[in-house]
C-alpha cells in the first residue's frame, strides 16, 4: 500500500497546474459571464494531449493512466470548471467507449482525430424522459438493409453544440428493455441531425450543451458501437469511468473555492485581526480541507482500480457521490467566508457554488449513485 504519486503523475499535475494558472484562472470569470466557449483553451488542451489522456499513443492519445486523468481533471477544473467538463466529456464519455468497444476501423475514424483533439466528441444518452433510466428512452433506430433509420431526440448533451461526432444511444428493440438498447457512432454532419440553441444554465456556462433531434437520420450498420442490443453495457461501463472524471471535476472546483477562502481570510480583517484568526473561520477551513482530502482519496481509489482493469462501479459511484456533495458544501462555506464579497460577481466564490451544483446531477444524480452503492453494500 502506498499513497505516493509516480514521477509521471507528478509531472502531469505540475503541467496542468501551470496551464490552469496561465490560461484558465485569468479567464474563467469572463467566460462564465459571457457564456463564451473557451476555444483557445480547448485547442491548447489538445496540444498538451489532455483530450485523450488515457487513450494509447497509437490511437492519438497520451497513453497515460486513469490516475493521471483524474489528477489532470482536478487541476483543469480548479482553473475552470467549464473547461474541465469539456475535457471530461471528450475523454471519458467519448474516447473511452470508442477505445473499449470500437472496431479497428471505427477507432481510425472515430477515435484517432478525437483523442488528438482535432475533433470533439459527445455522449447522447439523456432524453427529456430518460436519463439514468436508460431503458425508458424513446429514440428509435430501425434497420433498413445495411442502414439504421434513427428518429427521436436527446437533451442536455454537453459539448453537443460543438461536437463532430456523438456516441448515440437508441432503442432497437423496445420489448427487450435494457437489452434492446444499441449505441451508434454518428458524425454530427449526418443529414437529419439537428441541434437546438445552447441551453441556458445556472453554471458551467462556458461548457455549452444543447438538445438535438434526429429526423429520419440514416446511419450505416457498421457504425454500431459494440454489438446490437449491447448499448446498455456500453453506457454503464462508460459512466463508471465518467464518474471518476466528474468526481475529479468536483474536487477541482472545491479546491479553487477553498484556496480562495484561505487567501481571503488572511487579508480581510474584522475586530482588529484577519478573519482566519477567528476560530469559526478556522474550523470551517479545517473541515473543508479534510473533506477535500477524503474526496481525493476516493477519486484516486476508483482510478487505481480502473487502471488495474478491476471492477470499480462501487468505487466510482462513491467518489462521484462524495466529491460532488462535498464540492457543494465546500463552495458554499467558501462563499460564507467571503461574506458579502462572496455574493458579488467581482469574485469567483459565487461561480464555484453554481459550478459545483451540477456535479450532483449529471452523469448520474446523487440518488442514482446511492442506488448503485446500496445495491453493492447489500450484496456483500
Amino acid at each position: 500500500m502506498n499513497f505516493e504519486l509516480t514521477d509521471v503523475q507528478r509531472d502531469i499535475q505540475r503541467l496542468c497546474r501551470e496551464f490552469a494558472a496561465r490560461e484558465l484562472i485569468p479567464n474563467a470569470r469572463k467566460w462564465d459571464e459571457t457564456h463564451a466557449w473557451p476555444t483557445e483553451a480547448v485547442k491548447k488542451l489538445a496540444e498538451l494531449s489532455l483530450l485523450g489522456v488515457a487513450v494509447p499513443e497509437q490511437y492519438g492519445g497520451a497513453g497515460l493512466d486513469n490516475v493521471c486523468y483524474a489528477i489532470a481533471m482536478e487541476e483543469i477544473s480548479r482553473g475552470c470548471a467549464s473547461t474541465g467538463v469539456i475535457m471530461s466529456v471528450n475523454n471519458s464519455l467519448y474516447c473511452d467507449p470508442v477505445m473499449k468497444f470500437g472496431t479497428e476501423e471505427q477507432k481510425q475514424e472515430f477515435l484517432v482525430p478525437f483523442a488528438r483533439g482535432e475533433k470533439l466528441g459527445c455522449f447522447g444518452l439523456t432524453e427529456p424522459e430518460a436519463g439514468s433510466d436508460a431503458a425508458a428512452q424513446k429514440t428509435i433506430a430501425v434497420r433498413r438493409g445495411d442502414e439504421f433509420v434513427i428518429n427521436g431526440s436527446k437533451n442536455w448533451i454537453t459539448v453537443g453544440p460543438k461536437a463532430d461526432a456523438i456516441v448515440l444511444f437508441t432503442m432497437t428493440n423496445k420489448e427487450a428493455g435494457n437489452k434492446g438498447i444499441t449505441a451508434f457512432l454518428v458524425p454530427t454532419h449526418t443529414p437529419g441531425f439537428i441541434r437546438a440553441e445552447p441551453d441556458k444554465k445556472m453554471g458551467i456556462s462556458a461548457a455549452h450543451s444543447c438538445s438535438m433531434f434526429f429526423e429520419d437520420m440514416r446511419v450505416p450498420a457498421r457504425n454500431i458501437l459494440g454489438k446490437e442490443g449491447e448499448g446498455f453495457k456500453v453506457a454503464m461501463s462508460t459512466l463508471d469511468g465518467g464518474r471518476i472524471g466528474i468526481a475529479a471535476q468536483a474536487l477541482g472546483i472545491a479546491r479553487a473555492a477553498f484556496e480562495e477562502a484561505v487567501r481571503y481570510s488572511g487579508e480581510r480583517q474584522t475586530f482588529g485581526k484577519p478573519i482566519r484568526e477567528h476560530q469559526a473561520i478556522q474550523f470551517m477551513l479545517a473541515d473543508m480541507a479534510t473533506e477535500i482530502d477524503a474526496a481525493r482519496l476516493l477519486v484516486l481509489q476508483a482510478a487505481v482500480l480502473k487502471d488495474k482493469g478491476m471492477r470499480h462501479s462501487l468505487e466510482s459511484s462513491m467518489a462521484k457521490l462524495y466529491a460532488s456533495e462535498m464540492a457543494s458544501r465546500v463552495a458554499n462555506k467558501a462563499l460564507q467566508v467571503h461574506g458579502g464579497m462572496g455574493y458579488s460577481k467581482e469574485m469567483d466564490a459565487e461561480r464555484h457554488v453554481r459550478d459545483a451544483r451540477i456535479t450532483e446531477i449529471y452523469e448520474g444524480t446523487s440518488e442514482i449513485q446511492r442506488i448503485v452503492i446500496s445495491a453493492n453494500v447489500l450484496k456483500e
Binding site: L5, D287, E291, Q301, V304, E367, Q369, R370, L378
Partner: protein
C-alpha cells in the same frame, strides 16, 4: 498510488480479524454488562503480535508497520471498542518507549508491553485541568538523589488500574511546555494510588481511572527522553495515537454498517424486507461512502508515518473525520434497527455509546480542527 496490501499487512489483518471474531466478539456484550476488564485477553493478543504491531521483533513486536497496526485496530475495534482502546494505548506506549528510550529501557519495558507481561500500558497525560493543553499540567517531578519524586493527579487514564507499565508526564520546571518531562512508572509503585473507576456512557469494559501520585519515587533511569522534552514526546505520541483512534472509529462504524445490512435484510415491514425500501438503502449507501473515506484517510496517515514523513495534518484529518463519521454511522444504525436499536439485545446501541468518546479523547474534534487549520496556514503562508 497502490492500495493493495502487502503480505505482512494481509497476514496481520487476517490474524486480527480471526482473533476478533473468535475470541472477542462472542464476549463483548457480557464484558460490557459486567464492566469487566478482560485481563486474560491481552496475553493472547500479545501472543499474536498485536500489542507491538509496529515494534521490531527483537523487542517482541510484530515489526509489521503502521498500516498493519491501523488494519489490526480496525478489526479488533469492530468486535469490541473497549478491548481496542487498551490495545491502542499499549501499542502507543511501546512505540514511545522504543522511539525515545535508552537501550536498557527498551529491553526492560518495551518487551514487557509487547509480551503481555505488563498486561497493558497506560498513558498518563490528562489532568483535571489539562488535557489537550499540556502546558497547563501541574503534576510535579522533583529530583532527590538518584530518584525522581512525583506528586499530583491524573485523570481519565485508560487501563490505569491494570497497567504494568505507564508513561507519565510531570512538570520538572515551571517553564510551560518546556518544563515538562516524561517518566516510565511501573504499576504498583509505592505512592501511586489508583482512584475510583469512572462510570462511563460507553467503553464500559475499558478501565478508566484517576491516578494520584503521593511522593511516588521513580528511579532516575526511568526518565524517558531528556528532561524538558516531555511536550515533544506527548505530541509525537498523540500524532500516532490519533491514527489508532481513527482506526478504532472505522472498526466500530464498519460493525454498525454490517449489523444494519444484516438486520434490514431480515426484518420485514409492509410485507417486504426493510432493505428493499429506498430510504434505508440510501442511509446505508451514505454510511458506506463515509466509512470508505475515513478508512482511506486513516490508512494514508498510517502510510505517511510509516514512511517517516510528517503526518500531523493527515493524522488529525483522519481522527476528526473518522470519529465524526462513526458517530453519524452508529446513529443511523440505531435508526435502521428501530426499537431494537435501542435495546442491548442488539449491538448497535453499544456501538453508538462506544463511538461517542471518539470525538473527545486523544484530542477533541475542536483540537483537531485547530491543528488542521494551523497546518493549512503553514502550507498557504
Amino acid at each position: 498510488m497502490n492500495l493493495e496490501l502487502s503480505e505482512t499487512q494481509t497476514l496481520i489483518r487476517d490474524t486480527a480479524r480471526k482473533f476478533a471474531r473468535e475470541k472477542i466478539a462472542p464476549r463483548a456484550r457480557a464484558l460490557e454488562r459486567e464492566e469487566r476488564f478482560p485481563t486474560e485477553l491481552f496475553k493472547e493478543l500479545a501472543e499474536v503480535g498485536l500489542l507491538g504491531v509496529n515494534i521490531p521483533a527483537r523487542y517482541g513486536g510484530a515489526e509489521a508497520g503502521v498500516v498493519a497496526y491501523a488494519l489490526a485496530m480496525m478489526e479488533i475495534a469492530a468486535a469490541d471498542a473497549s478491548t481496542s482502546v487498551a490495545m491502542s494505548v499499549t501499542n502507543m506506549c511501546a512505540e514511545l518507549i522504543h522511539a525515545f528510550g535508552t537501550e536498557a529501557q527498551r529491553e526492560k519495558f518495551v518487551t514487557r508491553l509487547t509480551s503481555g507481561e505488563a498486561v497493558v500500558g497506560s498513558f498518563a497525560l490528562s489532568e483535571p485541568h489539562a488535557g489537550s493543553d499540556p502546558g497547563a499540567l501541574s503534576t510535579s517531578a522533583v529530583r532527590k538523589g538518584d530518584k525522581w519524586v512525583l506528586n499530583g493527579s491524573k485523570q481519565w487514564i485508560t487501563s490505569g488500574a491494570y497497567a504494568g507499565v505507564m508513561v507519565v508526564w510531570a512538570r520538572t520546571s515551571p517553564a510551560g511546555n518546556k518544563g515538562l518531562s516524561c517518566f516510565i512508572v511501573e504499576g504498583g509503585t509505592q505512592g501511586l494510588i489508583i482512584g475510583r473507576h469512572e462510570d462511563k456512557m460507553g467503553l464500559r469494559s475499558s478501565n478508566t481511572v484517576s491516578l494520584t501520585f503521593e511522593d511516588c519515587e521513580i528511579p532516575e533511569d526511568q526518565l524517558l527522553g531528556k528532561e524538558g522534552e516531555g511536550f515533544k514526546l506527548a505530541m509525537v505520541a498523540l500524532d500516532g495515537g490519533r491514527i489508532g483512534i481513527a482506526s478504532q472509529a472505522c472498526g466500530v462504524a464498519r460493525a454498525a454498517l454490517e449489523a444494519s445490512v444484516r438486520y434490514t435484510k431480515d426484518r420485514k415491514a409492509f410485507n417486504q424486507p426493510v432493505a428493499d425500501f429506498q430510504a434505508p438503502r440510501f442511509m446505508m449507501a451514505d454510511m458506506k461512502v463515509q466509512l470508505s473515506a475515513a478508512e482511506l484517510l486513516t490508512l494514508r496517515a498510517a502510510h505517511m508515518k510509516e514512511q517517516g514523513r510528517p503526518f500531523t495534518r493527515e493524522a488529525s484529518m483522519a481522527k476528526l473525520y473518522a470519529s465524526e463519521m462513526a458517530n453519524r454511522v452508529c446513529d443511523k444504525a440505531v435508526q435502521l434497527h428501530g426499537g431494537y436499536g435501542y435495546i442491548d439485545e442488539f449491538p448497535v446501541e453499544r456501538y453508538f455509546r462506544d463511538a461517542r468518546v471518539q470525538t473527545i479523547y486523544e484530542g477533541t474534534s475542536e483540537v483537531q480542527r485547530m491543528v488542521i487549520a494551523r497546518e493549512i496556514f503553514k502550507l498557504f503562508s
